[in-house]
Structure formats: structure tokens, C-alpha cells
């Protein structure tokens, strides 16, 4: 006999907000979110102050899974070069899925157009963490200018996932040669 624990209304709302905003955009209505979660509007507003807070919490909740899917293990081996390339291999793989619409944290910021929005603040922190990972590896790898290389890698990450997300390009045969050229130019082993 299996016992299934039904997710709580809070969890269902967070899941619906993450899935629907990624698929349809941050303009998705509260009605649609509540309907998808099977939660009344009244209950939603008891759990979250506003739709903005729900969006922020739904992005926050994706943070660990996002990092785990992209980054190599913190205590893993591999050279800085390999660890940086690992991130781009992951996004290349992810981008092959039909439901891929690019990086959710970049999309949220572009759509919200308000750096002060609670969800923009969460998203910005996630992207800053990725840049910090690149910077630390660039430094370990002996990059001439670790800060510049980290900014370049973030730019390639965001440009690549945005373009793949809208179907403007595929990442295969594009991301790896670009990153390798930048790593070589920076002198990262």
C-alpha cells in the first residue's frame, strides 16, 4: 500500500505560478493561477499578500533545483575550465526540450521591467550567483581578468538561452565553441 501525500495549497500555488508564468508570462491572471492550483482566491490571499509575492516565492522555490541542474558539485573534481563548460553543456541539453523557453530568471526580469519588483529581486540574485560561480572558477583557472570573463560567460549564457528560448537559434555547435574561444583568450586552463 502506498501513501501519497497531496501537496498543500501553498505548494500547489507555487508550482502553478512557476509553470504558468514560465509558459505564458508574468501577466498570467490570479484566476488562472488559482484554477490551475485548485485553490480559491480567498485561500491564495491568505497564503500570499499579493500575486507579486506569489511570483517571487515561486521563483525562490526554483532556485535550488536550478542551481543543481546547472552547476557541477561544489566538492566535485574537474578543472575550472571543465566546471565552466559543464554549465553550458547543461543548458544546451535543457534547450532541446520542446517546453524550453529560456532562463526563467532572465525572462521574469525582462517581462516585469521593474528591478524593484519582489520577483525581479529574487531573479537578479540567482543570476548574480551564477556570475559569482563563473568568477570564482575563472580566478582558480588563472584568467587574466576573472571579472571580465565572468561577465562574458554570463552574457553568453543569457544570450544563448534567450535565443534558444524563442527558437531563434539552437545551442548545439554554438555555445561550446564560443565559450572555448573566450576561455582560451582569457588564458583559463
Amino acid at each position: 500500500m502506498t501513501t501519497e501525500v497531496k501537496p498543500s495549497p501553498r505548494e500547489r500555488l507555487l508550482e502553478a505560478a512557476a509553470a504558468l508564468t514560465y509558459r505564458d508570462g508574468v501577466g498570467i491572471g490570479v484566476e488562472a493561477l488559482c484554477k490551475a492550483a485548485g485553490v480559491s482566491k480567498r485561500s491564495m490571499y491568505q497564503l500570499f499578500e499579493s500575486k507579486d509575492e506569489l511570483l517571487a516565492a515561486s521563483l525562490e522555490r526554483r532556485t535550488s533545483a536550478y542551481a543543481a541542474a546547472l552547476l557541477p558539485a561544489a566538492d566535485g573534481d574537474g578543472s575550472p575550465r571543465q566546471r565552466i563548460l559543464h554549465v553550458f553543456e547543461q543548458v544546451e541539453t535543457q534547450s532541446g526540450a520542446p517546453e524550453f523557453h529560456g532562463c526563467p530568471f532572465l525572462a521574469a526580469q525582462i517581462e516585469l521591467k521593474d528591478p524593484g519588483h519582489p520577483a525581479s529581486r529574487v531573479a537578479r540574485q540567482v543570476k548574480e550567483n551564477l556570475t559569482a560561480f563563473f568568477r570564482a572558477e575563472a580566478e582558480r583557472g588563472g584568467a587574466k581578468d576573472p571579472s571580465l570573463l565572468a561577465r562574458q560567460l554570463s552574457l553568453v549564457f543569457d544570450g544563448g538561452s534567450a535565443r534558444a528560448g524563442i527558437g531563434a537559434d539552437e545551442l548545439t555547435g554554438l555555445l561550446a565553441p564560443t565559450v572555448i574561444t573566450l576561455l582560451d583568450a582569457a588564458g583559463v586552463r
Copy 2:
């Protein structure tokens, strides 16, 4: 004595749609668009079949000005390398304006999340024209793989303008070194 010709309702709607969607996103309501244009909803629907068609027409109308602001003169001199760098210098300058929110044609596609939307189709064509410009210059400049270089430059263009548009980074000291590294690696003089 000066004579001022008041823009037509059609022109006012196109202008309002371009300005408001760029500032607030494609979710902007028909009411707000009509109010900003000083045009009744009835008139709007006589001029445009739908809000989707208005968005598409407003992007279409920006196309020439966008290309003129970014691209060097078709019959201008300058090496392929200089002509490619010109585009990135322009976007670097544009990104310094406080009202800069990145490339409007990328943002529209990310926000609409529907490649079949009439406005997405207009936007995609504009970006394909930019990639074609990069490809032609890459070829003239003797790039080893002109198609790859054109895709890389489009990726850097979109990644850079997206990141500057959300305030994640500044393009000064970032775009030029990145593009130069890619041009060097491709062997473009």
C-alpha cells in the same frame, strides 16, 4: 508661421503601442493604448483587426529606424571588422539611456512566447536581418566559418542588450572585448 501636421489616429496608435509595450510589456491593455493615443476603442478596431495586429504593425514601423540606428551605411567604407564593431558601439551607446530596456524585438518574442504571433513574426525577421548582416560582413572579412561567427555575434548582441536592459550589467568594457575576441578567433581582419 509654422504648420504642424497632427499625426493621424493610426500613427498615434502605432506610436503609443511601440512606446508602451517597450516600457510596460506586451500585456498592456487596449484601453491604455487607446487612452495614450487619444483614440477611441471603436476607431482602433476600425484601423486594426486586433491588438495583436496593432502590436505587429507597431514593431514593423520601428524596423527602418532600428536598422538605421544600428547598421553602418550600406555603401559606406570601413572594413568588415569595423562595420561589425559599429553595430556594437551603437548598442553600447543606446544602452546608456535611462529608458533603455534592451532590444524591443527580442523582448517582444520573449514576452509573447508564441512564434506564430504576428508581432513575433515581425520581430524574428528583424533579428534574422541583423544576423544576415553579420554573416555577409563575416564572409567579406574572410571568417573561417562565417555562419558560426554570425550566430555568435547575434548571441552577444542579444545577451548584451538583454542584460543591460534589466540592469544586470553595463556594456562598456564588455561588448567590445568580447566581439574583438570572437573576430580574432574567426580570423576576421
